[in-house]
């Protein structure tokens, strides 16, 4: 958080605002062997695929190298009238001669007639064409193999992170903002996909192509090759410099675009306020200013692009000019042939793109390193609660069927310093409904968190049906509960799936649960009934309807114990009556713990626990507690209404 200095003018302020947007994903990390090694392990299940694609890459590189050689053979062979048969001394030449022999062609010499030469041309073109077809096939298969490998690894990694997060305790989710965790399973994993699909293996492919071409150049004419290759380091340097600046500018653009988007979004959402306050002009001016900073960032980055492409072009023509002059001199002197001249020319055009790719791959590697570090950071933190060594099996759950809850001298603190609950003891009898009341921060929600074992108490014990909840597996413990939280979570799935919530429940059960909470009218209102997809956060539903859906969700599982954190948000009186009615039906015949905010709910409870600063201060029925004229009586006056 940077505090704004008073003398900042408006433009500076905008720059400040630009600062923090999406910075995280733009951080780089230098190559680390440790991280790379760990990433490579994810390739292990696919090692056959990787091996296959390596072999295919080698084949395809070799095939790419052969094409230009054939052109050279053609130019120095059948197309040349000045040279003799000694030209066919190369490997390719020898192979071709053998092949030619099989189709009944003689080797070329000065006296060969046109018929022979034409036959040779057809032969060479035919070879080249078949190589092309092979190459098309190999390249396609190779790309697909790599792509499937990369995508599979990405998927594995995503699932590993997601599954790992499912096991984390509630405190983990308190520490880590949801948005950041979502980035781990989406953007960070995607960054690694780039690395797996086009990084590791095609890096090898590029290196192979470069080595192959350089080797061929030297093999053909070492002297000429060493002169021509002088420019290649320059290409690498130019590309590296360009990438560095382009990346810097790209980030700047991203940052400013994010800022512009945030501003646009905000202006659209707040349009009514803007219009009623007559601030249209000021808003538009500010928009134009932020928009202007984005334009400047774009214009700055054009410079580097405009500089880079011509530079590489100039370097490649310099290499070409070298071939023309040096090659020309050698052809003149008879130490080189026209075929070699063409060979150099063709190879050079094919050398530049893998060279440029190399710099690109390095950037890819850097952002992938940063992403993988963040992902491994998540995988290396494990805050899941300990499972018992001896799991109480299903038979023993019958003991717990009584559903009696006992808190015994429970103390707890979230940060290890400030106690939230102190020596809390109470019992809830089987089938009893208790209401927990108290001011904000009194520790009401913490009781729920401990009861469901989102955290374990620092001292004391919680038991259900005389059995410590830590002696049971988390799953069998939590399966007893139906939970309804304040913030109602309507998910973007169908209405039916929102109530089913991934459990194994049939439709009858869902319809029944909706009927029980008097929520059937919600279904009737939807075009597709139960199949109606819900918007994110249930935007199309009223707050009362959202509440009823979460009730139905809890009820559908037929829980033994109901835990309800009542919503505080204000709903109109009729909806409130509807909700109250639903709560009455929910608690019937179940042990229920309700963190209550409405007087009507509180009064209907069998017993009321009054929490104050982490301690249980009063306990009893409504009238009893009002008569006590203590904290509860004050709460009733303050919170539940006014006289």
């Amino acid at each position: 958080m940077t505090s704004r200095k008073p003398d900042n003018d408006d433009d500076r302020k905008d720059d400040d605002e630009v600062e923090d947007f999406h910075v995280e994903e733009l951080i780089d990390r230098p190559f680390s062997r440790l991280l790379a090694g760990r990433l490579l392990k994810y390739l292990r299940p696919y090692r056959r695929m990787v091996l296959l694609s390596m072999i295919l890459i080698i084949c395809s590189t070799v095939l790419t190298l052969i094409g230009p050689l054939l052109v050279k053979e053609a130019i120095d062979g059948p197309l040349s009238r000045s040279i003799g048969s000694e030209q066919a001394s190369s490997e390719t030449g020898a192979l071709l001669t053998e092949l030619a022999g099989q189709v009944g062609l003689e080797s070329i010499d000065k006296e060969s007639d046109d018929q022979q030469r034409i036959g040779w041309m057809w032969l060479i073109a035919g070879c080249y064409f078949s190589i092309l077809m092979m190459q098309l096939l190999i390249q396609y298969i190779q790309t697909m193999v790599l792509e499937i490998t990369g995508q599979s690894v990405t998927k594995d990694l995503r699932m590993e992170v997601f599954a790992h997060l499912q096991k984390q305790s509630s405190s983990f989710f308190h520490r880590n903002p949801v948005g950041r965790l979502v980035t781990r399973v989406t953007n960070d994993v995607e960054a690694l996909n780039d690395l797996f699909a086009s990084g590791f293996v095609s890096l090898a492919g590029d290196l192979l192509a470069i080595t192959g071409i350089v080797a061929m150049l030297f093999w053909t004419n070492a002297e000429l090759a060493s002169m021509v290759l002088l420019v290649t380091p320059l290409v690498v340097v130019a590309t590296t410099v360009f990438r560095k600046f382009a990346r810097k500018h790209y980030r700047e653009m991203r940052r400013r675009l994010a800022h512009l988007n945030a501003y646009t979004q905000e202006s659209i959402s707040g349009m009514e306020v803007v219009q009623v306050c007559r601030r249209e002009e000021q808003q538009a001016q500010r928009y134009s200013r932020i928009n202007g900073t984005l334009r400047e960032a774009h214009l700055n980055s054009i410079f580097w692009y405009a500089l880079f492409f011509p530079t590489v072009e100039i370097l490649s023509v310099i290499a070409l000019v070298t071939i023309v002059i040096q090659g020309g001199a050698r052809i003149d002197a008879g130490t080189a042939t026209f075929g070699e001249f063409f060979l150099f020319w063709t190879y050079l055009t094919r050398l530049f793109s893998p060279l440029r790719d190399l710099a690109e791959k390095y950037n890819l590697l850097q952002s992938a390193m940063a992403s993988s570090e963040r992902i491994f950071g998540i995988l290396d933190t494990d805050s899941s609660l300990p499972e018992p060594v001896v799991v109480v099996d299903a038979d023993d759950r019958s003991v717990a069927r009584t559903g009696e809850i006992r808190f015994d001298q429970v103390s707890f603190s979230y940060d290890g310093k400030t106690p939230v609950l102190e020596n809390l003891s109470f019992t809830v009898g089987s089938g009893e409904t208790i209401a927990v009341v108290g001011a904000t921060g009194a520790g009401k929600s913490t009781i729920i968190n401990l009861l469901l074992r989102f955290h374990d108490p620092d001292s004391g014990s919680i038991s259900i049906g005389d059995r410590d909840i830590r002696d049971q597996s988390l799953a069998s413990h939590r399966e007893r509960f139906g939970l309804v939280l304040q913030d109602v979570s309507v998910l973007s799935r169908t209405l039916e799936d929102n109530i089913r919530f991934d459990r194994d429940l049939d439709r009858d059960r869902i319809t029944w649960a909706l009927e029980q909470v008097r929520g059937s009218s919600i279904v009737a209102r939807q075009k597709l009934g139960l199949e109606e997809p819900m918007m994110e956060r249930g935007r199309t539903l009223s707050s009362g309807e959202r509440q009823l859906i979460s009730f139905a969700r809890a009820l559908a599982g037929d829980p033994q114990i109901l835990v309800l954190d009542e919503a505080t948000s204000h709903v109109d009186t009729e909806t409130e009556a509807l909700i109250q009615d639903a709560i009455d039906r929910l608690v019937k015949g179940r042990t229920s713990v309700i963190v209550a905010h409405r007087l009507s709910t509180v009064r209907k409870a069998d017993r009321i626990l009054v929490m104050h600063h982490g301690q249980l201060r009063e306990e009893g029925g409504h009238d009893e507690l009002v008569a006590l004229d203590g904290i509860y009586a004050r709460l009733v006056k303050l919170q539940f209404g006014k006289s």
Binding site: R4, A125, A284, S288, A306, P310, F640
Partner: protein
Amino acid sequence: MLAAGVLLILVTSICQVAVPRLIGVAVERMETGVGLDLVIPVAMAMLGAVLIRGVTSFWARKTVIGSSRRIEKRLRDRMFQHIEQLDGSFHAKLHTGDLMSRFNSDVEAVRMVFGPAIMYSVQTVFILIFTVTLMLQIDWQLTLWSLFPLALITMTVRFIGPLIHNRSMRGQEMLADISVHAQENFANSPVVKAFVVEDAEIDRMNRLSHTYFQQNIRIAQLRAFTGSAFSLFGDLALVTLLLVGGLRILSGELTLGEFATFNGCQLLLIWPMIALGWVMNLFHRGAASAERIQAILDATPAVDDSKARPEHQIRVGGISFDQVCFRYPEAEEPTLEQISFDLPGGQTLGVVGATASGKTTLLNLIPRLSPTDSGNIFIDQVPIEHYSLDSLRGSIAMVPQEPFLFSATIADNISFGVDHASMDEIVEVSRLVRMHDEIGKFPDRYDQRVGERGITLSGGQKQRIAIARAILQRPQILILDDVLSAVDSETETTILEGLRKWTQDLTALIVTHRLSAITHADEILVIDEGRIVERGNHRDLLDKKGRYHKLWRRQTVEGELEDLE
């Protein structure tokens, strides 16, 4: 600007085509064996050509792409200014997300037309003209043979490009699904744990990941095909040249130098031929986007100053509704029917009714956030259309149901509606809404940023800041739409009492669910399904023992206690 760009591209293209031509000349000279002395000038000419080309293409890019960025900026500015003029019905029809994609992907698509599409299409046309002329001068049949495989490249891009684009868009949607699932799962982790559905949630993620995986493979197939096709067709051009050109060399119709020229031209043409297909797609996409943008720019504001007369100014702020009806564009039922009432200046009107009974809609009509369908609204006996929007909205301050704060400082948020506000004034209104002490506890006090990058305020704090913003405008008419729902009733009472003192000759409209807030109102309207069902002051309404009375009893503790007996 454009002419300069085209000229620069022209020079660039000439220099580009010069290189293969010069290589041809060089090879011819080598072939005839006239010696190195004649080759070196040709090489130097090549170097010269590429240097000139470097300079011109640098400027061409800066000119064309630069102007496209300027056009982009102007277009966005214009769109922004335009949507600011549009009324609520426009914003209700178009989701924020859709509007955002007009500002982003659609503007970008149009920008691509003015930038890269123009640059590369001009360049491609020039290069095609020059190379084809050059090649035709040498041998027209060989020209056709050489161009054929290259044309296949253009076709590949033209027809597979849009497929890749569509599949990628679909892929992005799938990634968004994954993101939504993760987001919902993490945000609701207590519920997920309590229902013990972690494994089912993992399964769901697995399914989503798998569809995304399959889509990516489908995209990869197309990419792999185009990638292989480019190198195939490029090499195919070489094979064709080798065979057809070779045979012509043998028959003496072609020299090796001319062969080299052809080879150079082919190498030169590969990228422009790819660009040609790409550019066609850009134009196609750009046209669709331009249409969508035009639709926004063509939307006419339903509320404007066409009937306004400058002499009208709001003085007292008396409001009358006469038979006002309103229906949302796509709704079947009208939201407001035959609403009539008279609110003399300086008085307070309370409005109550169930959720979605039309209260908010009624309030929105007064500052003309939406136009009425029929009936008239008068302020000081003058139809509201006769005031300019500036003078009408300048006299009204409105606090919407969902308080909206900008991600700026608290002081900026409070002073949003006025041109200049002194710190004293800001503090004064903050005191009035009982926020001053709380603001004092923030690390940066009034300079504390809120929202996206600042602190998160509670619902009640947001509501009070929104009220402070409204009263700082010192309006004649104050409209409060259920603005203190998240504040406890004691604070609410204090704030409302403070407001009453501050706003003695101010006309106020207060919508609320909490009846205690409007017991002092001069008149109260009870609205149900868009109609006024009861009206009168608090006492009258209680005596009527109707709907208002029922609501009142439910809301008071006494009422509840009576129910018990």
